[in-house]
Every structure is written in C-alpha cells, then in structure tokens.
C-alpha cells in the first residue's frame, strides 16, 4: 500500500505534526514501506474471531466516586512552559 504526499500531509495534520516540504518525501517512502509490511495481515482469515483489546480480557475496574487527590497546583504548574495566576498560557484561541 503506497501513500502519496497528499495523504501524508493529511495524516500529519490529524496528528498535529509539522512536516516540511523537504520531509514529506521521506515520510512517503517510510510510511509506504511500513504499510507494505503491514499488508501481510490481509492474507489472514479472521472469520468468527473476536478482537482482543486486552491480554487478560479484563473490563474497566471502577472505584468509589470520592476525591482521593490532594491540591498540588504549584507542583503541577512547575513544569509549565508559561503560566500566570495558576492558568496555563497559550496563544489566543478565540478571535
């Protein structure tokens, strides 16, 4: 399965990854090659086989709806690239 540069750009956009014009061709080659490897799956007969999402066939464990976390605002803000008044700063979102 071969991808073209248009599809690579679309995927990059979905993944929010900047891909320059120089890099696109490299990705076209690499991703097409990897999808070529993946093509081997096509031959497999999976009629009647259910998907296996989890090795132990567990379902989501639930817990009581009580607060167990403590307030660690300062600690959690410590790694923020930009913050002010306990808010994370980002470029303007709404015009």
């Amino acid at each position: 399965m071969s991808l073209d540069s248009e599809e690579v750009r679309k995927i990059a956009h979905l993944a929010r990854l900047a891909v320059s014009d120089d890099e696109v061709n490299g990705y076209v080659d690499d991703l097409s090659s990897i999808l070529g490897l993946v093509e081997k799956m096509n031959a497999a007969d999976v009629e009647g086989i259910s998907p296996m999402a989890h090795p132990l066939n567990m379902s989501q464990r639930l817990r009581s709806d009580v607060v167990i976390e403590s307030n660690q605002v300062e600690q959690l803000l410590a790694n923020a690239p930009a913050s002010e008044k306990q808010l994370f700063l980002v470029p303007k979102v709404i015009e």
Binding site: L35, L37, I49, A78, F88
Partner: protein
Amino acid sequence: MQDKTLSELSSGLQSGDFSSVELTRHYLDRIKQFDADLNSYITVTEKLALQEAEEADRRRQTGESSPLLGIPIAHKDIFCSEGVRTSCGSRMLDNFIAPYDATVVEKLKAAGVVMLGKTNLDEFAMGSSNETSWYGPVKNPWDTQRVPGGSSGGSAAAVAAGLCAAATGTDTGGSIRQPAALCNLTGLKPTYGRVSRWGMIAYASSLDQGGPLARCAEDVAMLLQAMAGFDERDSTSAEQAVPDYLATLNNDLDGVKIGIPKEYFGDGLNPEVKQAIQQALSEYTRLGAETVEISLPNTGLAVSTYYVLAPAEASANLSRYDGVRYGYRCEHPVDLEDLYKRTRGEGFGAEVKRRIMIGTYVLSAGYYDAYYLKAQRIRHLIADDFNKAFEQVDVIAGPVNPTTAFKLGEKTDDPVQMYLGDVYTLPINLAGLPAIAHPAGFDSNGLPIGMQLIGNYWSEPTLLNLVHRYQQQTDWHWRSPDSGQN
C-alpha cells in the same frame, strides 16, 4: 564488587564488610570512569544517591535487613522519579521534572534501594537498538561499535558494565529481553498486569510492562518480588497474589515440558545463535526437562500485527504532548495549531513521528476496520496459538534476537529492517505472557547470545526456577566485557 550477586551484596552490607555509602560511591566512581564511552545514563543522581545510601545505612542500624536495602540500582528513564528529570529519551521531556514517583520507583524505594540515576533508552521506548534517543545512542559494553539492543539499552549496558547492581526496564515488543540478550544479562518481562504501569510513561498501553534486568535469575527474582503487585492507581493492574519467587528457585525440573516452536528455528535465525540455544536445551534436558516439538502457526503475522497496534496506541498516548502543560514548547507560536504542530514536530524524533503517523492512519476513518480491528483479531489468533501450546507444554523456548549485536547504524536507514528483528519477542507481548531472556553462550566474535523461555500467565516462578537451575550448571552469565571492567 560489581561482580557480586544482589544477595552477596546484601550479605556484605549486613555483615558490615562495606556500607551502602561505600557501595554507592563505588558505582558512582565507575560511572564517572566508564560511562562517557557507553552513554548508558541520561541523569546521574549523585547527591540523592548518597543521601539514600546514608538513609539505608541508618535503617540497617535500627535492625532492618530487607534483601534490597542499600543496593544501588538504576531506573530506565521512562519511570517518573519525583524531583528528578524524567526524559523518556526525548527532547519533548528534556526539561520535565516528574512531580511524583512511579509505583515501581516507590515500591523499590520502600524496599530500600538506592537510585544511582536514570538510564538511556530509545525515544519513548520506540526502538530495538537504543539508537533513537535524543541523548545519543548507547554503546554495547561488549563492543562499543555495536548496539546494546533496545529500548532498555541504557539499563542493559549499565548492568553489563558494572555501573549499577541491577536496573529496571520496560518491554512492549521485546525491550527488556532484546538488550538483556545482546548484553549477556537476565531480563524478565512479567505477565501483563503483574507490575503497575502507574508513573511509567505510556507507549502502548495494552502491551507495556515494566520488569527487572540483572546478572542472574536470583537477582531478577529479588527485584520482581519488590516490583510486582496489584496497584489501585493502574486500572490494568491485576488483582493477583504475588508468590514468593525465591522459595521455588531451586525446584527440581523433572517432568517440565519445554515446547520448541518450529516457526522460531527457521531460516531467519543465525546459525551460531541456533546452535547455542540447542546446546542450552540439552542442558535443560540434562536437568530433567523434556523438549516437545510444537507449532505456533500465526507467528508470521506477529510483526505486521504489532506494527499496527503499537503505533495506534502510541498515537493516542502521545497526543498529550502538546506544549501546553509541561515539556517542550516551540518558540513564538502564532496560534494554537502552530503551537501543537511545531512543538510536536520539533520535540519528537523521526522514529516516534513515523509511528505516530502509522498509528493515526490505521485508526482513521475508512481504515479502522481493515487495519486496527483486523490486527486485534489476529492478536486473538496469536494468543490462542500459545494457549493451545500450553495444553501440551509448561514453557516454550526460543531465540530473542535473530543475530548477536549488530553495528551502530547498520539498520537505521530502513525502519522495516529494524522491525523484522522483533519477530521472536513481539508475539509474547501481543499475548500478554511472561518471558525471561538469559545468556546461552557467545558467538565467534565473543558477542553474547541470549535465549528466552516463555511461560503461561502468572508462571514467573516456573521461568525463574528453570533459569536459576540452568545458571547453577553454566557460567555464561558471569562473564564480563573487557570495557568497563577493572
């Protein structure tokens, strides 16, 4: 001192032959002397380590004598360590100071270990050679022109070179077992759910599992004892009692059936590696085990299945890296989209971006059924192969890598070449089974050859028992590389 087992070190500490502070200084000196050539550590926590060593010595004075008290180890830099940089081998987290300890770190701390530092790894655990790290490749102590294996290459190199007594790693597609095998170590990937993933930076959540790397099975058992256990904070943690792994190490092997899958010993396997494993199997039969030919028919589908599922899960897990709350942020973002795209474009390396894109593609509208859902169904087939085999045999033996350590740069041009090397380790992660890699000899270049034993769910005691008995009859695991040895 770096050639002693963990229990020998523990005895030495207990009888006062040396203190934890002295032992820690010994390793810190060796790191200073040898790690520039190996690049196995990303962060060395010298001050913290000496503080922890003093604390361990103090605890011992008050009468405490737990097996791991005062033992210096290293953690793969994928486990959050409070107050210490946790980079995951990536520019994206180069400036990230973890605000909490991973459960694995917490449990080993409670057992009294001293943390020497955080070891190098393939970026976000994606790689089989430790060549994709932002901090540069790790070198194999057995031949510094060659790879140590990945993604836990730093942990493996550090243990093999005597730069720590043992280390933690993670295994999603072989990342504990492959470096263990290429560096002459014993490394265990536990059953999925055995070790908590809380605080372990996620790559592929249904495949990731943390585990120990050390010089021998007994050491691995001691570490696993401290690492294993149910954790409420990890919703995929299993409510399964932790047995006493040391108690059964010396059990007899009479009647243990070892399955030999014909698919694992075909053309792709280097002849010297094949021969060493066959000799090891003779040793196992001399110890009382019996070998049985089996088949794992869907082995050929494992690589493609894994490289759909793991990247898909990775694309979801890595979407949190957005330059907003922590980690790398690009300079002067003009709007939110620019912030996301350039932060991620610049913060992630090439292999990570490839896998995110493959993952995004196979999950996208129109392709989900054909790729992701189909891969999950093949996963079921692969797990069923093992379930059927375990009706006949107790454990399954196989290679870990198709060859011994390859040269740095040899496979980096073609990602698919690298992926194909994972054929023997991936199926085990897909099924969620435990597996242990251990030394089985050396090739004509003096490079380590490893093999693995795969067990049924929760059979870590059996795996450790088998390898321990093998290691009582052989001495491959005690050999040390010339580099990094005094």
